[in-house]
Structure formats: structure tokens, C-alpha cells
């Protein structure tokens, strides 16, 4: 297994999470995100954290990969902490919000590590299908979301490519991070722009948006495991509301 696995990239596997039905997985994911967003007390946070740890174990993906990705985006935690402190004037609240952010990011990692993009797109499409009645092209919308996720991971990769090539040319990232970061921004933006143009070109040739409806040729069946996870989500939602909001 690759030790420096990139952000939001699918990890091939055969775990129960990998084999979940796409629609059930998206429902489970949305419910859990709502759970994490409305957490108000430390007990709910601990319960959700334990549940997420169970999920990480179920994914059968090396925990190091999760840790590496979490550490890589440490500036986000600083921003959340500072933002929370400025709003609430309370250090404990700052830490609490950082922990909530970590839970959400880990959940995103679990989803993208165990679900291929086409399955994410299909899951979103199934969940949002009722919106077709009001004339929204759900197929296109769900694919766009999936590609945005892919683009985030590609952006990270490109940034590291630029960083490496700069290092080969003598610009050490470690010495003056802010100065070298500045020098990397323009090439990274250029590369991303080029990449987005190439992606658009490829998608045109691959019939993206050609039909109002897409098909999915290998949809996994709904299992007891899927239903149990969604059920646990609902129970958690009740617990979080009961502990924090009543």
C-alpha cells in the first residue's frame, strides 16, 4: 500500500465499507455529517469519535494513511481555531471546533478512500433523484460534485509536484516556508488551470452530460451492514440532540 496516499483518492479494497451500496453510503454519510455539525457537548463528541474509529477499522485501510492526510492539512485547523477563538473568545471552544473539523475531514477521507468517484456520483444521483421532477439535471450535478472531489486531490498532487521541482532547482521549502510558498502559488495555479482545461476536453470526448440519465453497471446490493450503519446514524442523531440541545 502506498504510504503517501493522496488526499481524497480511492484506495482499492474489499472491506465492508468498500462494498456498501452507493445510495446507502451517501445517506449514511450525509446523516453523519449532520451529526458532527450539530455536536454541542463533549460526551456526544466522544461517542461520535468512537463510532468513527470503528468505521476506520472497518475500512481496513492503514491508519497511517488517515494520519498523514490529517497532518498534511494542519493550516485548516489553525484557521478554524483562530476563527472560533475570535468569535467566541474562548480557547476551549476553539479546541472543540478543531476536533469537530477533524471528525468531518476523517469522514470525508473514509468516503473517498472507500468509494470510487463513479459510485459517489451514482449515490448522489440516487439520493437526489426526486429533484429531477423540478427540472434539475441530477446526473450532471452529481458528476460535477464527484469531479470537484477528484480535482481537490489532483490539486494537492500538482502542488507537491511543483514543490518537488522547485526543490530540485534549489528552493528549499523548509527554510522560509512563506516565501517559498509564494513562489509555488503561481506555477500551481497555472498547472491547475491547464489541468482543468484538459479535463474538460477529456470529458467532452467521453460523453459527459450527453444523456440526462446515466447508468451504473456494478451497483452493490444493500446489505445488513449498510442498514445497520444508517440505523446507528439515526440513533446517534437522537443522542447528540438529546445530550446537547435539550
Amino acid at each position: 500500500m502506498k504510504s503517501n496516499h493522496q488526499f481524497f483518492r480511492y484506495v482499492t479494497g474489499n472491506s465492508k465499507l468498500h462494498l456498501m451500496n452507493s445510495k446507502m453510503k451517501i445517506i449514511w454519510f450525509i446523516l453523519l455529517i449532520i451529526n458532527f455539525l450539530i455536536i454541542k457537548d463533549i460526551f456526544s463528541l466522544i461517542i461520535c469519535l468512537l463510532f468513527l474509529m470503528f468505521i476506520i477499522l472497518q475500512s481496513k485501510i492503514n491508519i497511517k494513511i488517515y494520519m498523514q492526510n490529517l497532518i498534511r492539512i494542519y493550516p485548516i485547523y489553525i484557521i478554524v481555531f483562530v476563527g472560533s477563538f475570535l468569535i467566541n473568545h474562548n480557547i476551549l471552544n476553539g479546541f472543540f471546533d478543531v476536533l469537530k473539523t477533524i471528525l468531518i475531514i476523517v469522514l470525508f477521507l473514509v468516503l473517498t478512500f472507500t468509494t470510487s468517484l463513479s459510485e459517489i456520483a451514482w449515490g448522489i444521483e440516487c439520493v437526489l433523484r426526486p429533484m429531477e421532477k423540478i427540472g434539475i439535471s441530477v446526473s450532471n450535478f452529481s458528476l460535477r460534485i464527484a469531479f470537484s472531489i477528484k480535482f481537490i486531490s489532483t490539486l494537492f498532487e500538482k502542488f507537491y509536484e511543483v514543490r518537488k521541482s522547485m526543490a530540485y532547482r534549489g528552493l528549499a521549502y523548509g527554510k522560509n516556508k512563506l516565501k517559498s510558498f509564494n513562489r509555488m502559488v503561481i506555477p500551481s495555479i497555472n498547472l491547475s488551470y491547464k489541468l482543468s482545461r484538459q479535463t474538460i476536453m477529456a470529458m467532452k470526448l467521453r460523453f459527459y452530460g450527453y444523456s440526462k440519465k446515466r447508468t451504473n453497471y456494478h451497483e452493490n446490493k444493500v446489505t445488513k451492514f449498510d442498514k445497520t450503519l444508517v440505523f446507528i446514524d439515526i440513533v446517534l442523531l437522537y443522542v447528540v440532540i438529546w445530550l446537547g440541545w435539550s
Binding site: 480511492y10 463513479s118 467532452k204 470526448l205 467521453r206 446515466r214
Partner: protein
Amino acid sequence: MDIIEINNLMFRYGNKFIYDDFSLKIKRGTWVTIAGPNGAGKTTLVKVLAGLAKNYSDVTIMGKKVIKKNLYEIRKEVGFVFDNPDNFFACETVEDELAFSLENMAVQPSTIKKKIKEVSELLNLESLLKENPYSLSGGEKQKVALGCALMLEPRILILDEALMMIDINEREKLLKVLKEYNRKKRVTIVSFTHNLDESIYSDRLVVLNNGKILVDGSFPRVFDEERVMRKIGLEVPFTVELSQKLRVYGLVDDICLDLERLVNNVWK
């Protein structure tokens, strides 16, 4: 019958003309190699054929003009394989990648499954189906990209330096598979390359430089213009070079592209 017709192509990047009054016709069922050094205008021509580059010309594919309203109809019949497959990939497993275009076209899952089996057997991709396409070697990536194009059962296959990253042995095998595909299914193949070794199974070779056709002919006669090719930096295949030298000594009568046949001719 001409399946591709380009008349009076004019194309420029800024003030620099890449093509000025360029015309080319390609017959149905043939394999045409379009060769040229870097900057000869090969990729631009691919983009023109794919309808991805605005140009002033009359380009017709299968009797349909390459204009916005015909693009989807044309692209359904034309498979494109590009030099950098990474930019082409959209999914996280090879299997999903192969299925992607057909899923977008709302093809039934059972049909997609059948086609994946056919294509993966043809290109020897069975063991890679569950792999992430980004983690494959360059050659494997190009095979996957080729597989994606073949999934559409195209009537025209356009390869833009598509075999560049594949090692010699694997390339030879793949060229034979493509030749068989071209012969059995009467698929027109237009292959753009700077490596003339890839042209040995073609029916016709067109050599481009600065947007102009320098050499255009069928095999093996086209290699009589070998000097022109060398002048613009193209290396002729080893078998051609060898048979030309042997011809000087009267050991063979004609240029031979196939090494085995060449050895047999000398042995006689």
C-alpha cells in the same frame, strides 16, 4: 470511399500559422500513420478532427461536417487515445474507467459488462481491472486508454502518440492486435507518431513538417523517400534501413518491413 476529408485547413496559434491550405483524405478501413517531428502539427490535427480546435476549414468525418451540432454523433463513432492518459482518466478503477463513456451514454449495465470482458481480453487487461489507473505504469495506462476507446466500438480510431510509453515487446504485440482489429472490423486507424517503427503495420504513411505534407505513400515504396524523413529528424525502422543496405549488395529485391521475412529472403 473517403471516411475522413480535410479540405483547405487553416489554423493558427496567435500569429503563427500551423496549417495553411492543408488537405488530406483517408479511405475507409485503412490504417494511416501520420508522422512528423515535434511541432509538425500532429496534435493540432487530432484536435481539429475531434472538434476541439476552432479552425477555418471543411472537415468531414463519415460524411458529417465537424461542426458543433454533429460533434456527439461523430464522437460516438470515433475513438481517441492521447499521449498523456492521466488527463483522460476520470475514475478510480480500470473497470470504472472502461465503463465511464458507456455509462454516460446510458448503455445498459449488462452490455457494458460484456464489452468490458471483450476489451480486457483483447488488450490483456483482466488482471488490472480492480487497480487504480493512476497507479499503473505508463504503458499500462496507455493500454487502458486504448481500451476506453475500443469500448465504444468505433469505426475510426485516432491514436495521438498513443503507444509512446509502451515497451518494445508490448508495443509489437499491441500493433498486431490493432492490425487484426483493423482487418476484421474494418476500423479505420489514424495513428499520429514521431516513431516510424509504429508505422510498419500501416497501409499508408503521411509525413508532416510545419503543417505541410512532405511524403505521402503506401508501404513499402514510401521509404524510397527515406532521405526526406531523415532530414526532418525521423528515424526509419531498422528493417527498412537493413533491407536498403542489403538491396545495394543485391541480397534482397525490395524493402522488407517484417524482420522474419527479411531474414528468410536473405537466407534464400
